[in-house]
Subunit: 308 residues, 2 copies
């Protein structure tokens, strides 16, 4: 099955939950076992390997439990070429663990450059298949011609994109709410257009949208204006949104709950659970496993309760 949204819907159904684990290896927050990553006197390659080791351990916890992971490029780029080598290792490890990989890269550039990014992350240059992503996040700021090269790549390779529509951070209001209609609504209209040619057998498009779970009041509107668009919801957990905030993102126009309608992301809440008071004294893997199971139960509970 080569269509991204169909593969995603199948993975969500198989795991019976819409959890997405963000692989954001902040070096300052890593468990002591990976303290080498913080050592400015250690060789860069060894420091980068430590963040790769950590992510591979998290992937082992995720295996079979959640449909997808979302590595954040910045934390790998921190270590330059050594970090990108670990990005490739982590992406390949996630694929080996049968997890879909959404590369959180937020790229956005003029058409010829966008084409190079599409090749870099989705199509490959040859010999790099296992380190390619199933989908990437994109910034729409440069307009339609910055997105279009990716649509071709999605068609050719069965991959997907998630366009930033309304991000989870406080500053997102600065420009994304500009104008009337708000910029985010205008972008949502274009996301629907871009996704029209990429709707799969599942009824979902391979062109998704990022909408912060922290804007609970807006989720219903975005769900209605983008009915075939898989959503990616950052902001659950550490950023403040709870399970009750996200249910509207899963509700169809008829009121039914569609589990494949969105992915809910948690990064720090799972990766760095060992730092939370609730898990004090636990080995980090136990803390992360408990946080992951809590997230799954929390979301399936909230969604089941509204499914009827």
């Amino acid at each position: 099955m080569k269509h991204f949204a169909d593969r995603l819907a199948a993975a969500i159904e198989r795991c019976a939950n819409p959890c997405l684990i963000g692989l954001d290896p902040h070096i300052d927050l890593l468990p002591d076992e990976f303290a080498l990553a913080r050592d400015r006197n250690a060789p860069r390659a060894a420091r980068a390997r430590a963040i790769g080791d950590f992510c591979c351990d998290v992937i082992a916890l995720c295996r079979g439990r959640v449909p997808a992971v979302k590595p954040q490029s910045a934390f790998f780029e921190l270590f330059g070429a050594d970090g990108v080598a670990q990005w490739e290792r982590v992406v390949a490890a996630a694929h080996a663990a049968e997890l879909l990989v959404i590369g959180d890269v937020k790229r956005g550039d003029i058409a010829s450059t966008a084409a190079a990014y599409a090749t870099a992350f989705l199509e490959g240059v040859g010999g790099d298949a296992e380190s390619l992503c199933d989908a990437v996040t994109l910034s729409p700021f440069l307009g339609a011609d910055s997105i279009e090269p990716f649509l071709g790549a999605c068609q050719r390779t069965g991959t997907g994109i998630y366009v930033l529509v309304r991000t989870s951070n406080k500053g997102s209001a600065d420009f994304q709410r500009h104008g009337a209609p708000q910029l985010s609504q205008r972008i949502a209209e274009r996301v629907v257009e871009w996704g029209r040619g990429l709707i799969g057998e599942s009824g979902w498009s391979s062109v998704g949208a990022v909408v912060g779970a922290t804007h609970a009041a807006e989720l219903r509107e975005f769900r209605e204006s983008m009915p075939n668009t898989p959503l990616l919801l950052p902001g659950y957990g550490a950023q403040g949104a709870g399970a009750a905030d996200i249910v509207d993102a899963f509700r169809s126009s008829s009121g039914a709950t569609q589990l494949a309608g969105a992915l809910v992301n948690s990064s720090r809440g799972v990766l760095f659970a060992h730092r939370d008071a609730a898990h004090k004294g636990k080995p980090w893997r136990d803390a992360s496993r408990a946080a992951l199971e809590h997230m799954i139960a929390d979301l399936t509970g909230a969604l089941g309760a509204t499914a009827k």
Copy 2:
């Protein structure tokens, strides 16, 4: 001298021109000497090395003639970790040739992630000083909290940023002209605020703005609304803008021409001049050198004529 805008102003004065050469090694356009980059059966590291070799040769042409170069990250990321290793080599080579390096990365992400990008490109993790950029381009789409971590990095390290305000591509109108006032104008106001604490002895801020030379009619307005902001103007040459289109970007409120007011970028027009009919049959280095000298003469002519 540690302040980015002061270093830039000095470099522009030393070279007596505001030319910025974009290092965009499109593999399909490279001279035959670098055809290995296109060979899908060659090892990735060898292919990546070919684009690095090409960029280093272009840097040799630029040495002493122009103040700065602008490598485009996408064409390096194409080759994964091997490409990023070449990015580091090219940045270091440009520094060795006494060229300022503006990394065209167009990153934009939430605050903790933005901080990682700022470290990756401007501050370093230790032992990577020679491969850091003097400035990077940033997308403002996520708002003020996505820019602020870079301001701290600029203060600490004497580096700079160029915020995308109005890009040179056709699709830039899709969202950048949204609302009233237009989004780009709103962003320009914020660029001035962000740059206020980073104004150097030259009078210029280390917070710059990207404004497409293809929007000649808007340049005067952007120059007036951002009086201390160094502009970066893509779109000259291959994208269609000529020397007459960019003079307003250099004009102060009193009407004087300030050479340090903007950098004018050309990528393909110089790198791939061997493909132009005007240079048919010339070895690529001769074609590129001629195109570079033509650009310098074209811009200094247009700016000198309006300086008075």
